[in-house]
Amino acid sequence: MTTSTRRIAGALAAATVSHPEPDAVEGTSAVVGGLPEPRRISIALEDVSKVYPNGRRALADVDLAVPDGDFVFLVGPSGAGKTTLIKLLIRDEVATSGTVFVAGRDVSRLSRREVPKLRRRIGIVFQDYRLLPNKSVRENVAFALEVTGTPGRQIRPAVERVLALVGLTAQGDQLPTQLSGGEQQRTAIARALVHEPRVIIADEPTGNLDPLISWEIIQLLLRINELGTTVLMATHNAEVVTALRRRVVALEDGRVVRDEVGGYHREY
């Protein structure tokens, strides 16, 4: 993706500020694989900087557009700002300047009441799984729907559907402590998927897993992506990134230094 298309995407995303229905950012011409096709923008950052209260500049002038259905790797050395970028997307932190669009929403303009609604449009996966230790796999996944007030009769089929997708139907009644790391991460992915988000954002989902299990998790995320969900994944896993030949966005010192389809290029 070239700088100019990125600008276009950013401008389009920015235009939705005054748009009455910000959910429908139609007509973007994202160039992927050389073929222009109209697609909506899942994630758009325009001139985004983030300076933490202690003065540390974690992101500087970041532009990034991720069309619906993309699979994007976010790479870079430790401290490059990957986690910071993800925190901006899920509104855990607010950008110091610039605009951040996720699923058609200007994230920095959300009121307190709207933040939960944004998070229900995103599935979030972390390196450390973040499962509730005293709830079973099923309960952990169902929890994501319960806390959003979903009726009980809708919860059960939705939970079974995602458990089947991640291949954990048989382990549904086990507690997280009775699962392998890979199974715990699959539980977390099931939880992120259960409310059918448009975007899955994963921060080093394979960081705690051995190579073989990491591949399983990546395969799972690829399958989810094939089913139509946009995936943004921060990772240090050079082998995976190089092998898959997907879009790679590289951050260094808070700046985007590379944004192209291809490999890891450099050992971080």
Binding site: P116, R119, R130, F143, V147, G149, G152, H195
Partner: protein
């Protein structure tokens, strides 16, 4: 809405039992605090009963000249009784007054010489009880105006005023102490509940990440706080019920003559105070504790 309530109550129940040690600690703290409040309420209502008893003693006394015809005395009594600020008028004739005086002497263990003189030196009197010890109205003027009948009106107004300012001060002090203790108790309870909330901060974090609205995070904790409050109140009332008998006796021997009664009124008041305070402290304490996690 119903689903929300069901969810919150179920979560509160689970939260209470899954952190049983924390919940127990919170309940014990709550119980101790409620006992303290209840003790204070009992003390204050005892003091109030005592003060009311003392205030009832306030009365206006008029001495009647010897040899006044009974009809004029009756007329004066009727006139005073008709005054709006008067609650009760008693007439003691000379014999009754003497008998009462002799009775007092005997109680104090002093020798009684009155029977030896053969005459009765004690005047008849009218005792006027007031509805409100602060309001004398025209009682004293009315009595003094009855010249030839009344020899003397016992002027106790300044003594009474001093007494009333003391009792008023004691009452105000009681309310202030109750308020201060209430605030202290709230702080202690909030801190205890906060410990329980901190222990579950990860859970709150996960709820936020999966898109739980503030209400869904807050209310289970509030219900859990209310549960702690109710349990604490129940235990407190149980302890009070067991202790009521010995305390009642202790107080009775302590303040012999003053008839302080731990009657049904006080019992109802206590139940109301303890349950109300338990609910409010638990709910408000929990609400304050989760607030820190919601503002971000």
């Amino acid at each position: 809405m119903l689903r929300f309530l069901a969810f919150s109550i179920r979560r509160a129940w689970q939260g209470f039992w899954r952190n049983a040690v924390m919940s127990l600690a919170a309940t014990i703290t709550m119980t101790l605090m409620l006992l303290m409040l209840a003790g204070l309420v009992i003390g204050l209502s005892g003091m109030d009963a005592g003060l009311r008893f003392i205030e009832q003693k306030v009365e206006v006394q008029a001495f009647i000249a010897d040899g006044v015809p009974q009809s004029r005395i009756d007329a004066l009594v009727a006139q005073v009784r008709a005054l709006p600020e008067v609650s009760e008028v008693d007439y003691l004739d000379k014999q009754q007054a003497l008998a009462q005086w002799q009775e007092q002497l005997r109680q104090q263990g002093q020798p009684d010489y009155s029977s030896e003189t053969g005459t009765n030196p004690i005047p008849a009197s009218i005792q006027v009880k007031l509805k409100d010890p602060h309001v004398y109205g025209t009682v004293i003027q009315t009595l003094q105006a009855a010249q030839g009948v009344v020899t003397d009106v016992l002027e106790t107004q300044h003594v009474v005023d001093a007494l009333l300012s003391v009792t008023g001060f004691l009452r105000t002090a009681g309310v202030v102490v109750l308020g201060l203790v209430g605030i202290t108790v709230l702080f202690i309870v909030v801190n205890t509940i906060r410990l329980a909330v901190v222990a579950r901060s990860e859970e709150i974090e996960i709820m936020r990440l999966v898109g739980a609205s503030d209400a869904f995070i807050r209310w289970p904790f509030i219900f859990e706080g209310v549960l702690v409050g109710l349990l604490g109140a129940a235990v407190t009332l149980g302890i009070l019920a067991l202790a009521a008998q010995p305390i009642g006796q202790g107080v009775a021997t302590l303040i012999g003559q003053v008839p302080i009664q731990f009657d049904r009124n006080l019992a109802e008041e206590l139940i109301l105070v303890v349950v109300g305070a338990g609910l409010a402290l638990g709910g408000v304490g929990a609400a304050i504790s989760v607030r820190t996690y919601l503002i971000r």
